[in-house]
């Protein structure tokens, strides 16, 4: 057999059948990447509800009993040893001995027409209750921060898998011209426990990793021209670079060189487009006030507003991380009496503002907003080393999250936990189910949305997960 033909057959099987089915997403991406091979060969599997996602991760994990999952029964049990049945079979991260029940010190009330209950710590979110979907029946397999964050965001508690944002930009490309398709915004002064793997691309091409957009003068690393080189000078030098590269291309014809020439031009454009998108000063005073954002500053509120600006420009996936939610109660810096209200004040208004803002701009229907931690917290007081501060330990069996927009059923509460808020008793939603549902909202079938690596098809949902259709309007 002609060996070339043999290779071509081989190519046909392994690459081209896929790559020629270049989807809309990859065409959209082609501007930014230039390299269409780096993008999945999927178009959407079905009509998407959402075109983009703003994913707010409250790193450390907020306590559901104090915010979203009211448990009046705990009031009667407060301070008493928890039932033996709970204590005996459990592995805790920090709790030692027989823990005591901790009732929430906060009041819950029903809000909006839907009557969804929210804690008094979330007055602003309460005001948009009818736009929110609350899942009270989330559960996970992990109860240490880094593995649980990885599990939630990459589908595996160990390192090496792509994060959900990478999956989506790989699969759908980006509609943003001159901006990365996956942007990460971090607040609270610390990165999440899982580090940059929380927005890593794993085995997907590294172009799909999240690009961290930072506060300050260099929002994307190395964005600014160096001292002593203004825009005109940069243009002069890029013109020379382009001419030389074009001449080289003419002699050897390597298509990668064509791509590289384009990437330099795109970089030049990004140097304009990124500072423009991060300039919150362009927002009206009313908008700034609604979010509680301050141009030039650094805060979760700024990041929420930033997220909207990025979403507006077609960025596929905006990932927010806010640090400081690990409320163990070892001191006032991490308890539910001092720290938790402080954190709530920082996020309640901006998240509510984001929902309202998206809605008033007509973007909420095709923007999915998710707000979650990586696991739940216990119904019991942790009392580490006899601490007198109130706090809750890590808890994998149930937690609550908020979703909004992107085709979610508004004003809806999904799932139920037992009276202790200890385990899910109705409509459990596993982390893999959430992932399947998020992909579904984006028009992707999580079972067919695969990447071949090391000889097997990998999925965000591993071999698990089911779409929670009940969540969709």
């Amino acid at each position: 057999m002609d060996p070339l033909l043999e290779f071509q057959q081989h190519l046909t099987r392994r690459h081209f059948l896929g790559a020629t089915g270049v989807g809309m997403g990859s065409l959209a991406m082609a501007g930014l990447l230039g390299d269409s091979m780096a993008v999945a060969d999927t178009t959407s599997h079905f009509t998407p509800r959402a075109k983009r996602i703003i994913y707010i991760h409250l790193a450390g994990s907020p306590p559901q009993h104090d915010l979203l999952d009211p448990k009046p029964v705990l009031k009667e049990l407060d301070g008493k040893p928890c039932p033996d049945s709970i204590f005996e079979k459990e592995r805790f991260a920090f709790i030692k001995g027989h823990p005591k029940v901790l009732a929430s010190p906060y009041e819950f009330k029903q809000h909006g027409e839907s009557g969804t209950e929210f804690s008094e710590l979330l007055p602003n979110l309460s005001s948009v209750a009818d736009d929110l979907t609350v899942i009270r029946s989330m559960h996970t397999d992990e109860f240490n921060h880094a593995p649980a964050q990885l599990f939630l965001l990459t589908g595996s508690p160990r390192f090496g898998r792509p994060s959900v944002g990478s999956w989506l930009t790989w699969g759908l490309g980006s509609e943003a011209s001159n901006l990365p398709g996956f942007v990460v915004l971090v607040s609270g002064g610390k990165a999440p426990s899982a580090g940059k793997s929380a927005w890593g691309s794993g085995f997907l091409p590294s172009v799909h990793q999240g690009v961290q957009c930072r506060n300050g003068p260099d929002p994307v690393l190395y964005l600014n021209d160096p001292h002593g080189m203004d825009r005109d000078m940069r243009r002069l030098s890029l013109d020379a670079l382009k001419d030389l590269n074009e001449a080289a291309l003419a002699s050897h014809g390597d298509p990668e060189t064509r791509t590289r020439i384009d990437q330099f031009e795109l970089a030049f454009k990004m140097q304009m487009s990124v500072p423009d998108v991060v300039d919150l000063g362009q927002e009206s005073a009313t908008t700034l006030e609604m979010y509680g954002a301050k141009p030039g500053g650094s805060s979760f509120a700024n990041n929420c507003l930033q997220a909207r600006r990025l979403a507006e420009r077609g960025v596929r996936f905006v990932q927010l991380f806010d640090w400081g939610w690990d409320t163990h109660g070892t001191g006032p810096h991490d308890d539910i009496v001092t720290q938790l209200p402080l954190k709530c004040r920082q996020v309640d208004q901006p998240i509510a503002a984001l929902i309202k803002d998206l809605k008033q701009r007509g973007m909420l229907e095709d923007t999915l907003v998710v707000v979650s931690g990586e696991f739940g917290r216990t119904a019991m007081n942790e009392e580490r080393n006899g601490s007198k501060f109130l706090g809750r330990d890590h808890h994998p069996h149930c937690f609550s999250i908020i979703m909004a927009g992107g085709g979610m059923k508004p004003g809806h509460v999904h799932g139920r936990t037992d009276d202790m808020g200890y385990a899910v008793v109705e409509n459990p939603v596993h982390v893999h189910d959430l992932q399947a549902t998020v992909l579904h909202a984006m028009g992707l079938d999580h079972e067919r949305f695969t990447y071949r690596y090391q000889g097997r098809e990998f999925r965000l949902t591993d071999v698990h997960g089911r779409v929670v259709h009940d969540l969709f309007a």
Partner: protein, 1021 residues
């Protein structure tokens, strides 16, 4: 463009000549593997209809509902063919209702033909050992023969040899990760000898940078990082292992040995420290030091990672899925997974925060220094032996009384023979020369001490002198002290040691030191602090410290509370000479020893002494005599005083060097009684252990003799001549580095789901050659780079790219973008900034501030001028949770798990790095300085020189003109805008070149930046 290419390829597919018999392994297995095997494969749990198509038996078996899967020669009776070709959608495979598209007409036709032709079955190529087909006596380099045959049969014309400049740059970047200098290129261009290329390659293979470049490749496999991963991501000291890899590669350690030492060096008989250090390979797994974690959970995670990494890095197998269930496509069961796991499950490490077990190791530089010390010491020792030879162990000594009591010093310029000094910290006695401030009271040396603060106790002491000071009736004890008038201590104390206690103390001044009981012999106050700024005599009756005649003082302590003070000459006041006989005469020494109740001497010597002379062997007597001369006798020690002083100096050096040792996590086997029972983990969960599993190898692969194989057996199994994969995988890995793509493109997967080799005969020939040439990586590199195929031009001959767009037949050399580290290294190298030092702790080049936002920790990237900022990228501190940003932008992995292949991307963020990262700015400026210093007076010559430095070739007229134009445009702008000019010139690396208009200098820096960003610069052509 893609669409057009595909059209050509598909038409090529149709044109397959009908007479070629279908190959099961090449054509049918891949088809089954991609379309059928996930449901009808190896994994029993997920197997549907009890049908498996991954084995011969399965294909030839009866079907559950009647019929046979494959009836050779009869497609229409074959269930397989019926089910894929039927029009009945409800029966058709793969099932449409699960969203699978049907097989294409071509695929169905292929299956039909295969069955028609007799359904010949073949084993998956990678499970069979490589066989080197004897090459026809075609002549020429075997690689060329194997590649060219295929080119010819495809009618593709190979490109001619590349220019010498291109070739040397290519080989240098490929083999060293660094570009050649223009001078070495010029020398190569002028070298007319036929072996010019061979000699260039020799030079490259012998460069110490060779080890750095290939270590880089191995570090990705080994998931090497300088931190432990997960939330806390604490620092980990494991760089000595990285240096071990560099050295092993530079020494061309055979790959089989390289393997054995890393997997099981600690289990080798009489393992050296280096061999144990090698095992740090598998201590690169992550530790989870997060609060509230279960150490066993993450220990298991580490062993799982080791199992996966071992099979991945050495054998290109992806067995990680068998952790939870049987491998779906390759013939490995979950049982077999845990069989391998069991061999790696017997090490002591257990996700502990202290990273135990650790090995104390020195950097290779320090080890070199230590070796020097060792050889100097051996030389001096020999000299001592020679000098002592023939000296008489019996020298005369005085026994007559002085008549009057007089000072006789036991401690003066040296401590008594055999004294063990400061056991707690092991530091030597701080003798120092007397000077004008504090003249010696006796002899030449004093010992001076400063307490670290007011009231802080400082003490200097020894014990276990071989010849104790035995108290006689009428003795008084004496010592001399000098107290600093500007910083006197509050208290001065002397203590004495008898064989079993220190409870004999006397002090002057304040009562700070509370040992013993005040006003008893264990803490006797002799009076106020003595005079300051002069030597004072401290003399007292032994009785006040509870010493009586016959007591043998073997130790003495000098103590102070706060302040600064010196001590000198201490001993006894006595009329008879203190027994100096033992210091001159061996016989006297023996008598003295035999009188002591307790001896502190080394056991073998005291054993000889305890024997009557007549009962000793000749050897024993000789040993005793030379020991005595060397260690005790004053005359003999005076004869070798210089040598002893040199030895002491060497010892001190050694102490200093050894203090620089670092502790590296390594593998250590559990002791047999502590060995763990390995159980299969259901669904891979450590909380759900199943059946006990004995260590064993997968049945499909070669066997070993060991009944119960351990880690060492695993290591040997990996590099056994029978292993079908290890050599192929290494050869492929090397080919991938040299050609941008492996012969097997999926270098991480040699299983049935991976790609086949483009040139299977070549892969096998190289694998066999590699093993037969002693697993030499350098020889393998030499073999490849001396082929014509390697040396081809990267410009395809007209029409070739269209016919073979991915260049799979290698008609021309690939153009490959440099790896992350090489891009930076090259910029530093061509600009003259590179610090070429090898080895050592990781370094912190400039990184934008604020990138490390570590949870529960305020560690930050060290900033500041005094860092090694220009070392090769290989040495950059690698933090897993926040890897060095420009590296990840250029596709470096995070090093959390084994990465065999870096997938290359081409993005605008990369352009931003090379345009704006300060290190490239710095390099552009340094390059501008070189242009001026090396290029001559004209701008054109200067730019031409810059071009040569960066690209290793001269610019053509068009290129030069374009850059000269840029320089002129830039200079004009900088002349107009002096402020911008000065901003650019600020922070100039080194001295700003004079004799040039600052605007022209700034313009050259702009040109330098363009040169460093050229596609040709970033690419090896």
């Amino acid at each position: 463009m893609l669409v057009i290419q595909t059209a050509i390829l598909l038409s090529g597919f149709w044109a397959t000549p009908a007479q070629e018999p279908v190959s099961f392994d090449r054509q049918i297995r891949p088809l089954l593997a991609s379309r059928c095997i996930l449901c009808h494969g190896n994994a029993e749990e997920s197997r549907k209809a009890d049908l498996r198509l991954d084995t011969r038996d399965g294909l030839m078996s009866a079907m559950r509902r009647g019929g046979t899967v494959v009836v050779p020669g009869d497609p229409d009776s074959s269930g397989l063919f019926q089910r894929v070709s039927t029009d009945d959608i409800s029966r058709r495979m793969p099932p449409a209702d699960e969203g699978h598209p049907p097989l294409s007409q071509q695929e169905i036709e292929l299956l039909r033909r295969w069955i028609q032709e007799g359904a010949e079955w073949e084993q998956h190529w990678a499970w069979l050992p490589p066989v080197a087909e004897p090459l026809e006596a075609a002549g020429g380099h075997p690689i060329d023969v194997l590649v060219n045959t295929r080119l010819q049969s495809s009618n593709l014309t190979a490109s001619p040899r590349a220019s010498r400049a291109t070739l040397l740059r290519r080989a240098s970047l490929d083999l060293l990760g660094l570009p050649p200098s223009p001078e070495s290129i010029a020398a190569f261009e002028e070298d007319q000898e036929p072996d010019a290329w061979d000699r260039q390659i020799d030079q490259l293979l012998n460069s110490p940078h060779f080890g750095e470049r290939w270590a880089r490749v191995w570090l990705d496999h080994a998931r090497y990082a300088d931190t432990r991963g997960y939330e806390k991501d604490f620092d980990r000291t494991i760089w000595p292992w990285r240096d071990w890899v560099i050295d092993a590669i530079n020494d061309d350690m055979p790959f089989d040995q390289f393997t054995i030492e890393q997997i099981a060096g600690d289990l080798l008989p009489e393992a050296t420290d280096d061999q144990v250090l090698a095992t740090a390979f598998h201590r690169n797994t992550m530790n989870n030091d997060e609060g509230g974690t279960d150490d066993e959970e993450f220990r298991v995670a580490a062993v799982v990672d080791r199992t996966n990494t071992t099979m991945q890095a050495w054998m290109g197998l992806t067995i990680s899925c068998a952790q939870c269930h049987d491998h779906p496509s390759d013939p490995f069961t979950q049982q077999e997974y845990y069989g391998l796991y069991a061999m790696l499950n017997q090490t002591q490490d257990a996700d502990r925060n202290d990273e135990q077990p650790l090995l104390s190791v020195l950097s290779s530089r320090d080890r070199g220094l230590l070796n020097n010390v060792k050889s100097s010491r051996a030389m001096i020792e020999q000299k001592i032996i020679d000098k002592l030879e023939g000296l008489n162990p019996e020298q005369p000594f005085i026994v007559e009384s002085f008549g009057e009591p007089r000072d006789q010093y036991w401690i003066d310029d040296e401590t008594p023979v055999g004294a063990k000094i400061n056991e707690a910290d092991g530091m030597p006695w701080p003798w120092q020369s007397a000077d004008e401030e504090i003249p010696a009271l006796s002899g030449e040396l004093i010992h001076l001490g400063t307490a670290s603060g007011a009231g802080i106790v400082r003490q200097q002491y020894f014990e276990s002198a071989w010849l104790p000071l035995v108290i006689k009736p009428g003795d008084r004890l004496v010592a001399h002290a000098w107290l600093d008038p500007d910083n006197p201590p509050d208290q001065v104390m002397i203590q004495f040691h008898l064989p079993n206690d220190w409870e004999h103390r006397i002090f002057w001044g304040a009562d700070h030191v509370v040992w013993g009981q005040l006003n008893t012999t264990s803490r006797h106050r002799a009076g106020d602090l003595p005079a300051l700024g002069e030597w004072v005599r401290l003399e007292f009756d032994p009785a006040v410290v509870g010493l009586a005649p016959g007591d043998a003082i073997d130790g003495w302590a000098f103590t102070q509370a706060g302040g600064r003070m010196a001590w000198d000459a201490a001993g006894v006041v006595r009329a008879d000479p203190i027994e100096s006989g033992p210091l001159h005469s061996l016989q006297a020494f023996e008598v003295a020893q035999n009188q002591l109740a307790q001896s502190f001497m080394q056991p073998d010597i005291i054993e000889i002494i305890r024997k009557p002379r007549g009962e000793r062997t000749g050897d024993e007597q000789k040993k005793l005599e030379s020991w005595y001369l060397r260690n005790v006798q004053l005359e003999a020690r005076a004869a070798v005083a210089d040598e002893l002083a040199s030895l002491k100096e060497l010892e001190e050096n050694e102490t200093v060097i050894n203090a620089r040792a670092v502790s590296v996590p390594v593998m250590r086997a559990m002791s047999p009684e502590m060995e763990r029972t390995t159980r299969l983990l259901n669904r891979g969960s450590f909380l759900d252990p199943g059946d006990e599993i004995q260590p064993h190898f997968p049945a499909l692969l070669h066997a070993t003799e060991s009944e119960s194989p351990d880690r060492l057996d695993l290591a040997r199994w990996l590099v056994s001549r029978d292993n079908p994969l290890t050599a192929r995988v290494h050869v492929n890995r090397t080919w991938e580095r040299l050609f941008g793509r492996g012969l097997v493109e999926t270098s991480e997967d040699f299983g049935t789901q991976g790609d086949r080799a483009t040139h299977p005969e070549l892969l096998d020939w190289l694998a066999v050659q590699f093993m037969e040439q002693g697993w030499s990586h350098k020889e393998l590199c030499r073999l490849i780079v001396t082929s014509d195929v390697y040396q081809r031009s990267s410009i395809p001959v007209e029409g070739v790219r269209e016919r073979d767009p991915e260049n799979r037949l290698m008609a021309y050399a690939p153009r490959v973008r440099l790896e992350a580290e090489a891009i930076r290294d090259q910029a530093l190298s061509v600009s003259g900034l590179l610090d070429p030092a090898l080895h050592g702790p990781p370094v912190y080049p400039d990184q934008p501030p604020g990138l490390w936002q570590v949870t529960y920790d305020n560690r930050d990237w060290p900033q500041g001028p005094d860092r090694a900022r220009h070392r090769r990228g290989l040495y950059t501190f690698w933090r897993r949770s926040s890897p060095y940003p420009s590296m990840t932008t250029f596709d470096a992995p995070s090093r959390e798990v084994c990465t065999v292949r870096r997938i290359q991307t081409n993005t605008p963020l990369q352009a931003l790095v090379t345009l704006n990262d300060p290190v490239y700015q710095e390099a552009a400026k340094a390059l501008a300085a070189r242009m001026i210093h090396e290029g001559g007076p004209s701008t054109s010559d200067q730019i031409s020189r810059g071009f040569e430095l960066v690209l290793g070739r001269s610019p053509d007229t068009q290129e030069l003109d374009r850059l000269v134009r840029l320089a002129a445009e830039a200079a004009a702008r900088y002349r107009d805008d002096v402020q911008m000019r000065d901003e650019l010139l600020a922070k100039w690396p080194g001295e700003t070149p004079s004799l040039i208009d600052p605007a022209d200098l700034a313009a050259l820096a702009v040109v330098g930046n363009v040169l460093l960003n050229l596609d040709e610069t970033l690419t090896r052509g």
